[in-house]
Point group: C2
């Protein structure tokens, strides 16, 4: 049983109540708490030494990554983050300075995005560091973007460049909060997710929940310099396109927008975010399944996203 199968079993019959608009299965839980015109977003995410970072990572980077992952999930709903709680489970013989440097990484990113660190706890996890962030945010009810709204004919876009994140970017990415809020404000975005499991894996989440398919254009997929360098340096490395499709931890936005708005979106984006690449990588199809179009033809894409344990 892999992670996805276990989660499917666990989430089959969770207790619910009238506050739950969207529970397990989207980037954040969406709650109706009686906030006028707005939903509450609720998210938790953990990073574990040896799983999500190595002992070579600087403590500031570990803190940045832990908070950044949660912020990236709030971005994927076009939300605004409000406050976070920090759970630090510390190995034996930790140095207090190490913990303070983790907080330096957390606090710097929090300040840039106006997020309060409203508390948390320290506990013990003798063999390795585990850092878990809980976050609340909010979003206008009519601007909240789920994974489930993609429609046949939508254009598929992705921000930035993909692949090779583990060479460094996974420790210093900037969550796309302003970009996502701008998108929801100005364009009919039907579905959005942040790329954490890999483009193909995360796109499959959108397709499954929206009950549609998609066709990707191989030459349009933005491949990072890191993925290209890795492929040249190591003969055992993935080809760059495969890295872009499956590496994960890119923390870019993948979204579907009504097809007629694709050109206007590219134009407006260049004015608004001139330093961040935006790529139209394909389209949503009524036929289910994920296809890749390259110069040799149209192929069914078997590649799937990173599965945390097999």
């Amino acid at each position: 049983m892999n992670e996805l199968e276990l989660i499917a079993r666990l989430t089959r019959s969770l207790p619910s109540n009238a506050s739950v608009v969207a529970g397990a299965g989207d980037d954040c839980a969406v709650l109706d708490c009686g906030l006028p015109g707005r939903y509450l977003l609720f998210k938790t995410d953990a990073v574990v030494e040896g799983v999500h970072f190595t002992s070579e990572a600087k403590p500031e980077q570990i803190g940045h990554k832990a908070l950044g992952r949660c912020l990236s999930d709030v971005a994927a709903m076009a939300g605004r983050p409000l406050a976070a709680l920090v759970t630090v489970a510390l190995p034996d013989n930790f140095a207090p300075e190490f913990v303070e440097r983790i907080y330096t990484g957390i606090n710097g990113l929090a300040q840039r995005h106006h997020v309060a660190i409203a508390g948390g706890e320290t506990t013990s996890n003798p063999e390795r560091l585990l850092l878990s962030i809980s976050m609340v945010g909010d979003v206008a009810r009519d601007k909240c973007i789920l994974r489930s709204g993609a429609k046949a004919g939508d254009a598929l876009f992705v921000t930035g460049e993909l692949g090779g994140s583990r060479a460094g970017r996974h420790l210093d990415f900037e969550p796309r909060l302003a970009e996502a809020q701008w998108l929801a404000e100005h364009f009919p975005i039907h579905a959005m997710i942040d790329v954490s499991d890999g483009l193909a894996g995360d796109l499959r989440h959108i397709l499954r929940l929206s009950q549609v398919g998609a066709e990707l254009l191989a030459r349009a997929i933005p491949i990072s310099r890191a993925a290209k360098l890795q492929s040249r340096a190591e003969s055992s490395a993935k080809p760059p396109l495969l890295a872009a499709l499956s590496d994960g931890e890119d923390f870019e936005l993948l979204f579907a927008v009504a097809g007629g708005h694709a050109v206007a979106l590219l134009d407006e984006w260049k004015k608004q975010f001139p330093k961040l690449r935006l790529s139209c990588i394909g389209r949503i199809t009524a036929e289910t399944g994920l296809k890749l179009q390259d110069k040799t033809g149209r192929h069914s894409l078997e590649t799937h996203g990173y599965v945390h344990f097999a």
Copy 2:
């Protein structure tokens, strides 16, 4: 440096914003998100194998304890829990059935208190199980009870019986949500906390934040049967009164109420909660420090609560 000193260093300069009413240092963070007449409560709490439970604990009990600790903190603010997220960090070679049984414990307690389990995540923690719960709740703005409001002349009360919790009660306690909400609705409760670190340790949190002192009456402190049995069974065990003062994990409510209401409160409580003991255990004093009055006189109480690591 112990846990309390480290936390003091980390919380000295956390990023904040306009939403934060009370941050690190109370039972829950209190947020003003624009909910009409209400505050949002936000809490996270983790339990770790070998620290908060042994490998002999049943998985249902581990789930119950993890969620119950968070619910007990919401109770300590007189709040109403809304939704929780579950982070399960799993050791290598876990059995899927074990995880499902953890959820059985979580879900049963959640259903009794009308709490939604709105998602969460599974991750890997190779050597031991770690379970972290995040929770949001809410509370009427004029009924939210902090640790910091105790006043000289207040009467001090505690629910239930204290000490010896590790003999079993720490795994099957029932959070005092209904009791706390009833108290806030009917009496001028000035400060409240749930007893997790031990009566003396948790009372010291109230005293420090309220800038007052307290005098406890030794003969009025309700000692659990478990603490008495342990003391008789093992010559090395703590005397029962010391166990009640310092064992911790009782998850009872400790609160300060305006002194003139003490008798009426005891009367009304007996009608409302006939099965749950309520004890008046002392009073708040203008003079700082914690004193214990017993048959030999009035002593300064050196005993402090459980400190998670030294």
